[in-house]
Protein backbone atom coordinates (compact mmCIF):
# COMPACT_ATOMS: atom_id res chain seq x y z
CA UNK A 1 0.00 0.00 0.00
CA UNK A 2 1.03 3.58 -0.62
CA UNK A 3 1.08 5.78 2.49
CA UNK A 4 1.14 9.52 2.95
CA UNK A 5 1.94 10.94 6.37
CA UNK A 6 1.26 14.44 7.72
CA UNK A 7 3.23 15.88 10.65
CA UNK A 8 1.76 18.99 12.26
CA UNK A 9 3.96 19.50 15.31
CA UNK A 10 7.59 20.41 15.89
CA UNK A 11 10.19 17.93 17.16
CA UNK A 12 10.92 17.59 20.90
CA UNK A 13 7.90 19.73 21.84
CA UNK A 14 5.26 17.11 21.01
CA UNK A 15 5.30 13.35 20.50
CA UNK A 16 3.59 13.65 17.09
CA UNK A 17 6.85 13.71 15.18
CA UNK A 18 8.16 10.58 16.99
CA UNK A 19 4.88 8.76 16.45
CA UNK A 20 4.92 9.66 12.76
CA UNK A 21 8.50 8.44 12.35
CA UNK A 22 7.85 5.12 14.13
CA UNK A 23 4.70 4.64 12.08
CA UNK A 24 6.61 5.29 8.85
CA UNK A 25 9.33 2.87 9.84
CA UNK A 26 6.81 0.14 10.73
CA UNK A 27 4.96 0.67 7.45
CA UNK A 28 8.16 0.27 5.46
CA UNK A 29 9.13 -2.82 7.48
CA UNK A 30 5.74 -4.33 6.65
CA UNK A 31 6.51 -3.91 2.95
CA UNK A 32 4.45 -0.79 2.30
CA UNK A 33 5.62 2.33 0.57
CA UNK A 34 5.81 5.65 2.40
CA UNK A 35 5.45 7.92 -0.58
CA UNK A 36 5.60 11.29 1.11
CA UNK A 37 5.78 12.88 4.55
CA UNK A 38 4.29 16.36 4.54
CA UNK A 39 5.30 18.80 7.29
CA UNK A 40 2.77 21.46 8.15
CA UNK A 41 2.09 23.96 10.97
CA UNK A 42 4.97 23.78 13.50
CA UNK A 43 5.86 20.45 11.89
CA UNK A 44 8.07 22.45 9.50
CA UNK A 45 10.58 22.71 12.37
CA UNK A 46 11.38 19.03 11.81
CA UNK A 47 13.37 20.22 8.80
CA UNK A 48 15.78 22.58 10.56
CA UNK A 49 19.39 21.69 9.92
CA UNK A 50 20.34 23.86 12.91
CA UNK A 51 18.79 21.42 15.38
CA UNK A 52 21.33 20.11 17.90
CA UNK A 53 19.89 17.75 20.48
CA UNK A 54 22.12 16.52 23.33
CA UNK A 55 24.07 13.33 22.48
CA UNK A 56 22.01 11.11 24.77
CA UNK A 57 18.76 11.97 22.95
CA UNK A 58 17.39 10.83 19.61
CA UNK A 59 18.19 13.07 16.66
CA UNK A 60 14.79 13.60 15.12
CA UNK A 61 15.96 15.62 12.12
CA UNK A 62 18.74 13.21 11.16
CA UNK A 63 16.35 10.31 11.56
CA UNK A 64 14.07 11.80 8.88
CA UNK A 65 17.03 12.47 6.61
CA UNK A 66 18.14 8.85 6.93
CA UNK A 67 14.64 7.60 6.20
CA UNK A 68 14.56 9.70 3.04
CA UNK A 69 17.96 8.44 1.91
CA UNK A 70 17.35 4.76 2.61
CA UNK A 71 13.76 4.43 1.49
CA UNK A 72 13.28 7.26 -1.02
CA UNK A 73 10.68 8.95 1.17
CA UNK A 74 9.77 12.38 -0.17
CA UNK A 75 9.99 14.85 2.75
CA UNK A 76 8.05 18.00 1.87
CA UNK A 77 7.89 21.15 3.96
CA UNK A 78 5.00 23.54 3.40
CA UNK A 79 6.35 26.83 2.05
CA UNK A 80 3.73 29.10 3.64
CA UNK A 81 4.09 27.51 7.08
CA UNK A 82 7.89 27.43 6.73
CA UNK A 83 8.27 31.10 5.80
CA UNK A 84 6.16 32.08 8.82
CA UNK A 85 8.53 30.16 11.07
CA UNK A 86 11.91 30.98 9.56
CA UNK A 87 12.57 27.69 7.78
CA UNK A 88 14.26 28.44 4.45
CA UNK A 89 16.45 26.71 1.90
CA UNK A 90 19.55 27.87 3.76
CA UNK A 91 18.69 26.02 6.98
CA UNK A 92 16.95 23.04 5.43
CA UNK A 93 18.29 19.62 6.43
CA UNK A 94 19.30 17.08 3.76
CA UNK A 95 16.47 15.08 2.28
CA UNK A 96 13.81 17.76 2.82
CA UNK A 97 12.40 20.05 0.14
CA UNK A 98 10.19 23.11 0.42
CA UNK A 99 7.07 23.15 -1.69
CA UNK A 100 3.44 24.20 -1.78
CA UNK A 101 0.35 22.93 -0.04
CA UNK A 102 -0.66 21.28 -3.29
CA UNK A 103 1.80 18.54 -2.36
CA UNK A 104 -0.35 17.72 0.66
CA UNK A 105 -3.48 17.53 -1.47
CA UNK A 106 -1.61 15.40 -3.97
CA UNK A 107 -0.68 12.98 -1.16
CA UNK A 108 -4.35 12.63 -0.34
CA UNK A 109 -5.19 11.93 -3.96
CA UNK A 110 -2.35 9.55 -4.81
CA UNK A 111 -1.92 7.58 -1.57
CA UNK A 112 -4.13 4.72 -0.43
CA UNK A 113 -4.02 6.10 3.11
CA UNK A 114 -3.13 9.49 4.56
CA UNK A 115 -2.33 9.40 8.28
CA UNK A 116 -2.04 12.63 10.27
CA UNK A 117 0.01 13.18 13.42
CA UNK A 118 -0.44 16.36 15.40
CA UNK A 119 -1.83 17.94 18.53
Amino acid sequence: MKFGIVVNEGPYQHQASDSAYLFAKAAIEAGHEVWRVFFYHDGVNNASRLTEPPQDDRNIVNRWTKLAEEHKVDLVVCVAAALRRGIKEENLATGFRISGLGQLVESGIKCDRLVTFGD
Binding site: G100, V105, G108, G118
Partner: protein, 121 residues
Protein backbone atom coordinates in the same frame (compact mmCIF):
# COMPACT_ATOMS: atom_id res chain seq x y z
CA UNK B 1 -5.38 14.72 -12.10
CA UNK B 2 -8.58 13.07 -13.10
CA UNK B 3 -9.31 10.96 -10.02
CA UNK B 4 -11.62 12.70 -7.64
CA UNK B 5 -11.68 11.83 -3.97
CA UNK B 6 -13.88 12.90 -1.11
CA UNK B 7 -11.86 15.19 1.16
CA UNK B 8 -13.17 16.27 4.53
CA UNK B 9 -11.53 18.89 6.69
CA UNK B 10 -12.45 18.46 10.32
CA UNK B 11 -12.11 21.64 12.36
CA UNK B 12 -12.31 21.17 16.11
CA UNK B 13 -10.21 24.08 17.34
CA UNK B 14 -11.13 27.65 18.15
CA UNK B 15 -9.55 30.49 16.13
CA UNK B 16 -6.73 32.79 17.39
CA UNK B 17 -5.82 30.68 20.45
CA UNK B 18 -3.78 28.59 18.02
CA UNK B 19 -2.95 28.93 14.32
CA UNK B 20 -4.63 25.67 13.23
CA UNK B 21 -7.88 27.25 12.03
CA UNK B 22 -6.09 29.72 9.74
CA UNK B 23 -3.69 27.18 8.28
CA UNK B 24 -6.54 24.72 7.76
CA UNK B 25 -8.35 27.32 5.68
CA UNK B 26 -5.23 27.73 3.56
CA UNK B 27 -5.26 24.02 2.73
CA UNK B 28 -8.95 24.12 1.88
CA UNK B 29 -8.39 26.89 -0.67
CA UNK B 30 -5.62 24.90 -2.34
CA UNK B 31 -7.58 21.65 -2.34
CA UNK B 32 -10.38 23.39 -4.21
CA UNK B 33 -7.97 24.03 -7.09
CA UNK B 34 -7.52 20.26 -7.48
CA UNK B 35 -11.18 19.72 -8.31
CA UNK B 36 -11.78 17.37 -5.41
CA UNK B 37 -15.03 16.80 -3.59
CA UNK B 38 -14.37 19.03 -0.56
CA UNK B 39 -16.40 19.32 2.61
CA UNK B 40 -15.70 21.15 5.85
CA UNK B 41 -16.90 19.90 9.19
CA UNK B 42 -17.02 22.07 12.30
CA UNK B 43 -17.14 20.18 15.58
CA UNK B 44 -16.51 21.09 19.21
CA UNK B 45 -14.69 24.45 19.53
CA UNK B 46 -14.20 24.51 15.75
CA UNK B 47 -17.72 25.93 15.59
CA UNK B 48 -16.32 29.18 17.01
CA UNK B 49 -14.33 29.70 13.79
CA UNK B 50 -17.54 30.70 12.04
CA UNK B 51 -18.78 33.28 14.55
CA UNK B 52 -19.53 36.56 12.81
CA UNK B 53 -18.54 39.95 14.15
CA UNK B 54 -14.89 39.17 14.95
CA UNK B 55 -12.90 42.31 15.81
CA UNK B 56 -9.23 41.46 15.86
CA UNK B 57 -7.65 44.93 15.95
CA UNK B 58 -7.05 44.71 19.69
CA UNK B 59 -4.95 41.55 19.35
CA UNK B 60 -3.09 42.85 16.28
CA UNK B 61 -3.95 39.71 14.33
CA UNK B 62 -5.50 39.37 10.90
CA UNK B 63 -9.21 38.59 10.95
CA UNK B 64 -9.48 35.71 8.50
CA UNK B 65 -13.15 34.95 9.06
CA UNK B 66 -14.32 36.87 5.92
CA UNK B 67 -12.41 34.28 3.90
CA UNK B 68 -15.05 31.66 4.75
CA UNK B 69 -17.41 33.74 2.63
CA UNK B 70 -15.06 33.42 -0.34
CA UNK B 71 -15.27 29.62 -0.27
CA UNK B 72 -18.28 29.73 -2.53
CA UNK B 73 -16.16 31.33 -5.27
CA UNK B 74 -13.83 28.34 -4.87
CA UNK B 75 -16.77 25.96 -5.35
CA UNK B 76 -16.47 24.79 -1.75
CA UNK B 77 -20.09 24.72 -0.74
CA UNK B 78 -20.35 21.88 1.76
CA UNK B 79 -19.97 23.40 5.19
CA UNK B 80 -21.34 21.29 8.02
CA UNK B 81 -21.77 22.27 11.64
CA UNK B 82 -22.50 19.72 14.33
CA UNK B 83 -25.77 20.59 16.02
CA UNK B 84 -24.82 19.37 19.49
CA UNK B 85 -21.56 21.33 19.43
CA UNK B 86 -23.32 24.49 18.25
CA UNK B 87 -25.97 24.27 20.94
CA UNK B 88 -23.47 23.46 23.67
CA UNK B 89 -21.85 26.82 22.87
CA UNK B 90 -25.04 28.85 23.00
CA UNK B 91 -24.89 29.56 19.26
CA UNK B 92 -27.35 29.21 16.43
CA UNK B 93 -27.17 29.47 12.65
CA UNK B 94 -27.67 33.23 12.69
CA UNK B 95 -24.38 33.62 14.55
CA UNK B 96 -22.35 32.35 11.60
CA UNK B 97 -20.56 34.49 9.01
CA UNK B 98 -21.55 32.08 6.25
CA UNK B 99 -24.42 29.74 5.42
CA UNK B 100 -23.94 26.22 6.78
CA UNK B 101 -25.79 22.92 6.97
CA UNK B 102 -26.44 21.84 10.53
CA UNK B 103 -26.11 18.09 11.05
CA UNK B 104 -26.82 15.95 14.06
CA UNK B 105 -23.85 14.15 15.57
CA UNK B 106 -25.06 10.87 14.08
CA UNK B 107 -25.37 12.39 10.59
CA UNK B 108 -21.91 13.89 10.96
CA UNK B 109 -20.43 10.53 11.94
CA UNK B 110 -21.98 8.90 8.92
CA UNK B 111 -20.66 11.58 6.59
CA UNK B 112 -17.14 11.19 8.01
CA UNK B 113 -17.32 7.47 7.46
CA UNK B 114 -17.99 8.00 3.75
CA UNK B 115 -14.86 10.09 3.12
CA UNK B 116 -11.72 8.98 1.33
CA UNK B 117 -9.39 11.45 3.05
CA UNK B 118 -10.02 13.13 6.37
CA UNK B 119 -7.70 15.93 7.40
CA UNK B 120 -8.01 17.21 10.88
CA UNK B 121 -6.49 20.45 12.16
Amino acid sequence: MSDQKKFMFVNRKAPYGTIYALESLEVVLITAAFDQDVSLAFLDDGVYQLKKGMQTKGIETKNFSPTYRALEDYDVEKLYVEKEAMEARGLNEDDFIVGVTVLSRAEMGKLMDEQDVVLSF
